[in-house]
Symmetry: D2
Subunit: 393 residues, 4 copies
């Protein structure tokens, strides 16, 4: 039985989701021989990282990234930091011979993303980016259905990623509201997920036309110490918000399909509404992350007069990730739903299998370069005011 010894950087929201995934994979994926070991958790604030390591079950801590990657007892570096350090860390980790698992978006721009890809390829390590929503069973089912031709020729992609957590103008300028740290706002945080799904489910995007807006122009500076970033501007003064609150885009796919995409943090009532619809010549599918165990499906082949959108509860053994190889259910019986955290468990499971096989599971850094190219085209389009071609490799 092999082990994959993990060094994780970051222990906020994403660090916690990843930690849980490593803990739970052996319980839910007993057939995977590689068992993750929560070897070392890394963060700059020693007291904080030690507390986090204790709470989440990490065996050791590091306060210096260089020290982390210098360790012999680490096989995989998992980067769950803010966006601006992703690529530098990924490159160093690869050069140190570690496999790399990185939160999305991979990079601050396309050039960076390409550097990261070049580094992991040069080092010959396994690499993957954490677009966890691909591995919600209902989304993987959608992929399978499209691949099987259930929708026929694809005509439309339509997505919305709607949240409302930043609407209060008195909410401070957290790192996700700072361009220097996050790169962008709703674009890189939310639309990146939709782009990843669109590329996966529909195919390459050739050009985009994008528009953005910052609805709340300035916010209170983040006082005190950010858990991940250390000291930030404090006091009561206001700082300019230099990232987008909302972004809208048209997209043209290589196969001719029309796409609309939208992401915003200013849609009251939507908490994590990562929604998409695909229309094809034979049918349609609709997904909504807030009801992530369900997939809506309309089949034009159903008997006339009895056609309608059906709500598939993607909780059966026949659905992706839900059956064990030897029969029986991986999680719970039909209708006993799983949650957000299980998308990470499924992702880490495939990562471990990838490491066993020496293959980089999708979305890997090559896929992430494509996503980054679309993000960059979106930014260029919004700046220039018009359509922008998406760069290809």
């Amino acid at each position: 039985m092999g082990e994959v010894r993990v060094g994780l950087v970051g222990y906020s929201f994403m660090g916690r989701a990843h930690s849980n995934a490593y803990r739970q994979v052996p319980f839910y994926f007993p057939e995977i021989e590689s068992k993750p070991v929560l070897q070392a958790l890394c963060g700059r604030n020693e007291a904080a990282v030690q507390a986090a390591a204790a709470a989440m079950g990490w065996e050791d801590v590091e306060t210096d990234f260089e020290a982390l990657i210098a360790r012999d007892d680490i096989d995989l570096i998992d980067i769950a930091t803010p966006n601006n350090v992703h690529v530098a860390m990924a490159i160093k980790a690869a050069q140190a011979g570690k496999h790399v698992f990185c939160e999305k978006p991979l990079a601050m721009n396309l050039a960076e993303a390409r550097q990261a890809l070049a580094a992991v390829e040069a080092a010959g390590v396994v690499h993957m980016v954490c677009h966890n929503y691909r591995r919600a069973p209902a989304v993987s089912l959608a992929k399978q259905m499209i691949a099987d031709g259930a929708l026929g020729t694809i005509y439309h992609w339509r997505s919305q990623y709607l949240q409302d957590w930043m609407m209060d103008p008195e909410m401070p300028a957290v790192w996700r509201a700072q361009k220097a740290v996050a790169g962008s706002g709703a674009l890189g945080d939310l639309l990146a997920h939709s782009i990843d799904l669109a590329l996966w489910l529909v195919g390459d995007i050739e050009r985009v036309c994008c528009d953005m807006e910052t609805f709340v122009k300035e916010r209170p500076a983040l006082g005190g110490v950010d858990a991940t970033l250390g000291a930030t501007a404090g006091g009561g003064e206001k700082v300019k918000v230099d990232v987008d609150d909302g972004v809208v885009a048209l997209a043209r796919f290589a196969n001719g399909a029309l796409g609309t995409m939208e992401a915003t943090r200013f849609a009251p009532g939507h908490k994590n509404y990562n929604w998409f619809e695909v229309n094809g010549s034979k049918g349609s599918i609709i997904f909504n992350l807030e009801r992530m165990n369900e997939l809506e499906y309309y089949s034009g082949d159903d008997e006339g007069g009895l056609q309608g959108f059906r709500t598939i509860q993607a909780t059966e053994e026949v659905h992706p990730f839900l059956g064990l190889p030897d029969g029986g259910g991986r999680y719970w019986p039909p209708g006993h739903i799983i949650g957000y955290e299980h998308t990470f468990i499924n992702t880490v499971a495939d990562l471990l299998v990838g490491i066993e096989k020496g293959e980089s599971p999708a979305p890997n850094f090559a896929d992430a370069v494509k996503t980054q190219a679309v993000l960059e085209a979106c930014e260029g389009s919004a700046d220039a005011g018009g359509w922008a071609e998406v760069e290809t490799a």
Copy 2:
């Protein structure tokens, strides 16, 4: 008690919906003193128009439009023909001193729309365009809520008008698939409705970026005789489809709001899915014509922990159009829903009141010019490939 004697041109889908509205207004709006008289139905095929007149309760028929407008016993000309003859008829009717009620879209292009507006203004007649969806009670409620400030500052408009009735490639090229007759496809047929609603609910649109596609490039020619248009290309040959099957657009509103709009006839499972969402600083609303008696509403002012999208059944006497002036319900008790046809009844009711008062109810030809300007900007944008400014008056 006054009468408004109507001359209606066209007796297919829209002609039928309008006929029913004239029949039903006195029953449901007893307080309106002007009672419509179904005076004459006009169409070129005499046998067909006579049969339709008999079935729908018209007192007389005309086979010539000039003869219709020459009659002294007609007060109002209602134009429910294909799009290419709207403006010519509207101008002649106005010049004959008749009030004019015209199906949407008013015109084939912006210049035409302006001519129509000039003509009705010069003639001093009452004019209105039939964007019936404004007067679904739930939509009028949305308007009232926005006007009352329930949503605060508007950030996002998002609309989809999805249908699937033209997906079969063997469906003939009906007039709605012919540019010379319809002007455009999903754009003028469906997106025009969304634009009208967006302008009404959110405000002026400054610029748009639009993309279109014709997914089925050629269709069987329409054999025989079209009920409205007379003889068309017959036989089994194929003709090129020169209108859009699907259209997507970004919009920027004068107040800074971001807009996305989409209309398609290629979305399997959606029959008449005229859907929109508005997000503002204080809340959100969502409407879907397939459940047209309902309005989804999220209020940020609800008690913390108990917030959520609520489904208002807009079927109570307090809702627009649903209470009689002296108390009691106009239609049926709460939860006893009304249907598509009642949006026309409500529209005609306001038209009759407008005629009584000598005022042109919104959306009148001036509103339609604005809608046409957006449609024209969409076409220009799609042709040129980039953002297009919307012309103002």
Copy 3:
């Protein structure tokens, strides 16, 4: 072309719904040769009945029922009064040789219902009871599917008819809250509909166990004059409410199926929630009147992994009532919904055809006797406290 000259008794809620149906049948059912004539409207208050007749398009009025049925120019008596006079009127009308259309519930008790049946059979007239919900297209589709075996062997009937309009304790004791006039409360008003549907869709009920409650024990007396009933107890005093506010029941069907049924006027948020579900060996269906154009359907025969409840929009030409005999749609295109009033139009259409053929369409008085037997068993069960057998003919 034949005429069916109608004499209608009552002009409140139901009288209005029936009047509209007579007006609209010729428009929507052009193929029916018998055209209804709104001959005379009957009510005791002359001024009120004349105003109603004018508003609704009746040619004449009567203030005396005996005079109404004595007229030679009346073919059909339509009884839309409170429940306590249904049977007496129906018998007299039949004895006068008139066809009879009666609002539900037919009678105050089973004995009365049998007398009414005997009278119409003796007179040889056509008879029908107005359980309009059978003829919502989605409900008729459900019937057709069950008859075609789509659900297999039926295991469960489950229904809820939920409203909230009588919850305010200050609402006066209208006739529907008076046992002497209404016979019962939610039982006869709402559960009667569910029983009619259960008998039609699942089959005979052998026994029931029922419980009832009056949550608001007394209400302000109805002051002044009731539109239909004339003078009632006035002033500010309270009167005892002697009908049920809510009723719950178990039912056993002859075919072994288990049934639950519930009707209440005390379910906040439900306006006209006439809901039912049927489970069989091969599938399930669910209907909700508040979304009456939709039918939920689950087929166990769908492909494994792609099964789910689908929402059929019963608005297509292939659905019951929605296609014209020679092709084309009777109402509007798919997704353009119809409303509550169309259930009456469809019902009256079938009544007219019945009169043409000399056949009494279901549910006729024989069907109503069965429904009344179940209602009577419910009352007996609630009084005695235990199961009660349903009497058969």
Copy 4:
């Protein structure tokens, strides 16, 4: 830091859900000082129990229950076996001085349940029954709202627990289909959950009237060896099914509310549809386990014209179980849903706190006696055919 050393009996569905809960509590409830130790897993088949222990992280195994409770290093016995051995094990565990956590239903009948309660009280140990659905955050929110008076006086309880996993007549007679092992079918398996919720949310039930049916009368015998029960009848022969497939009941609550309850394994399309609705004088709530992160709420106090059922996403820090004591979220941000397994984690968390405090958290054995009394009344009612009083302590 204290430890609670657990000995768990059973490792199928429930054993797995409990094991996961013990593993996860320290991660999600860091503030609870007592940390569970997965000390020993108990089962009769040594190879199977060892494999399960390894897969789920148990430190040791036992094949004999007496040996398990004889161990000094066990503080808590968790009984996740079929129903027929619950009470005997609970009594022995209590007598051995162990705290007891038992799967529902606690007992095969009321007498047994009372014996179990007497034993734990005599021993002075902490006891709890695993009705995990109480601790879905949305359900706990419902409890809190009712306790706060948000619904006013309760008028109606209405519940359905619908599944479809046993519909295939070729499915073998697993233990849940054997009266000797399970006690009953849908009654004890599903309706027990609804009864527990009804008692908690509405209050004591005074009497019930119940009806049951076994739709598939015989099934293939379970061949070979049942994981938990050892050898069972094998071969291809059929055995009689002696438990209910479906059960329906009326209930009268002590506070006068009317109740309907239903549980079935024969409702196609429903996988784990544990649904309930409560109507009170001020509002209504609706819950559905298949969308367990949501609670529907209608408030009669909302502004007139804007009332409607709202969908609360019970995923915010203000909701039960979702906020950490010192601020911040326990699980994930709003809209990032949790799943079925988290109801067990929340339950075990409260159990650990109970053990710390020496208090038995609800539902404890005293609560379970009440639930058992209702179950017994249901069985008596179904046997005798009529209403049955619920025994009180």
